[in-house]
């Protein structure tokens, strides 16, 4: 008897935890007076930190607009907007269990994730390419034969790279960095020859690195993926609020302005320019707001 009680304790604790995750975000915010934005620290220019716990970026700006809308909707005199740092590995569980209310980082919208969470209309379309040293002789994926390739643990690029290796028969060694910063460090220190990741993340890491001119982004696009803001599933009131806010930004041209601000102008901390022009796929996503998963982007 005693033994079974002892075994039951952790199970009960887990059950209590999972029960506390609320489905209705707006009433939760109303109750606590607090709105938590989950964000990333090294996904420039979408979401990154400039030190002192300050987060900034394209998606952070979009989420600030969402926070404004939440404040209006709940009618709270003052809404306490908190930023919480999330990682590639914990962002989904933290959204699902209610630790963060909305995640504004660089999350690919795909079918596997749609089983657990919901996505706002796509606000960025990324191309998976690779970052190499500027003097490297890697120009295309076929040059990777026999090389060491870094990518980040907990991202869709890992599967993508594995599929590609299988399909083309090109043999390379795969290294999994624990986050984007570490994967980039693997290339910087020469432990890996290339870092395969979303072009915006690669460009962001390069512009915030010690010497941006030492690196370049090369190669054909391995995959085109929609990046979107993520929030809890099965919460129609909150979904309407978030989606409408994002759609309004798209219709009013405000989002295009934000895009220019973060992708085609000098950005903090070093005043470098990411210089990624808006792709036709993103123009299309802004003209026809949708939350189609990555699977629908495959050619």
């Amino acid at each position: 008897m005693k033994k079974s009680l002892w075994l039951a304790a952790p199970v009960l604790a887990l059950a209590a935890l999972s029960a506390s995750a609320q489905a209705d975000t707006l009433s939760k915010v109303k109750q606590s007076g607090k709105f938590v934005i989950g964000t990333r620290d090294s996904s420039a220019p979408l979401a990154y930190t400039v030190g002192n716990g300050k987060y900034t970026g394209y998606h952070v700006d979009v989420c600030n607009a969402i926070a404004e809308a939440v404040k209006k909707e709940t009618g709270l005199p003052s809404l306490n907007v908190e930023y919480a740092l999330v990682t590639s590995q914990n962002r989904l569980p933290l959204v699902v269990n209610g630790t963060v209310d909305v995640e504004c980082g660089s999350t690919t919208n795909n079918l596997t994730r749609q089983k657990e969470v919901a996505f706002a209309p796509t606000t960025y379309v990324t191309n998976v390419r690779m970052a190499v040293k500027a003097d490297s002789n890697i120009h295309s994926v076929k040059d990777l034969a026999g090389k060491t390739v870094a990518t980040t643990n907990g991202t869709t690029s890992v599967t993508l790279l594995r599929r590609h290796e299988r399909a083309t028969g090109i043999d390379f060694k795969q290294l999994l960095g624990k986050d984007h910063a570490e994967s980039f460090l693997l290339v910087e220190t020469g432990r890996a020859d290339a870092f395969v990741m979303d072009d915006n993340i690669l460009a962001g890491l390069i512009v915030t690195s010690k010497s941006p001119s030492d690196f370049k982004v090369v190669g054909e696009s391995l995959s085109e993926e929609p990046i979107a803001i993520m929030y809890r599933k099965d919460d129609p009131a909150f979904k309407k609020l978030v989606d409408d806010t994002v759609r309004d930004l798209m219709k009013s041209g405000e989002l295009a302005k934000l895009y220019t601000k973060w992708f085609n102008s000098p950005i903090p901390p070093r005043g470098a320019n990411v210089a990624i022009p808006m792709t036709p796929a993103l123009k299309n996503a802004i003209d026809n707001p949708n939350d189609n998963p990555a699977e629908s982007y495959k050619k």
Partner: protein
Amino acid sequence: MLGNWFGSKWDWQIFCKSNLEDTRYPGCFGADGDITYLQWMISAWGWTLSVALLGLLLALVAGSLVGVARTVPNRALRLFGEAWTELFRNVPLLVQLFLWYFVAPKAIPGLQSVPSLVLVVFALGFFTSARVAEQVKAGIETLSTGQRNAGLAMGLTLAQTYRYVLLPVAFRIVIPPLTSEAMGIIKNSSVAFAVSISELITFAMQAQEETSRGVEIYLAVTGLYFVSSIVVNQVAVLIERLVRVPGVAGVEVGR
């Protein structure tokens, strides 16, 4: 499959799924170069055990030498032992790992081409060696000085005194704390994920992301860590029993 958890069904069959396609293999082992999550996890377990056991071997050898050095009359050796112990046990393991992996190769060019497995083994082994040294030293100091003096008085050299009089008893005394270290190093080996070794934690993080079956994946990985530690523990108990000498190190005579 085995009931429900919080309204969501278990899906242990996820381990039989290929990590490339949606195919599920009946025997849970993929064909034609396809790898299932089970195979991937077993390979990851192999990495965890390799890192841990090689690290343990290094820790025991280095730790014993340093532990002995801290008890000899020679002052320089004693100082070296103290310095070694304090250096490796006062710097966090993860920091040591990064120093070996990213910083040391800048200073020592040859290290760049050393496989990362070796660097992790160095980091883990030297970190644990400081703790082993502390225990070996404690084991030797437990013995009365009379034993050391008796050995020397019989005409044994200092090395012989250690080899035939002090160490056989001291090592028997410290088997239990060394067992804890051996179990600890298996769990500490999870830091290897930070430097891109494809061990269990790396597997768990990537596989739960790909499959969305985090609970099953983490439970399985937990189980493997648990099993590994228990086996180490049982091996240590067996060794303790095999080398037991009645009348020595707290073992009753005639038991």
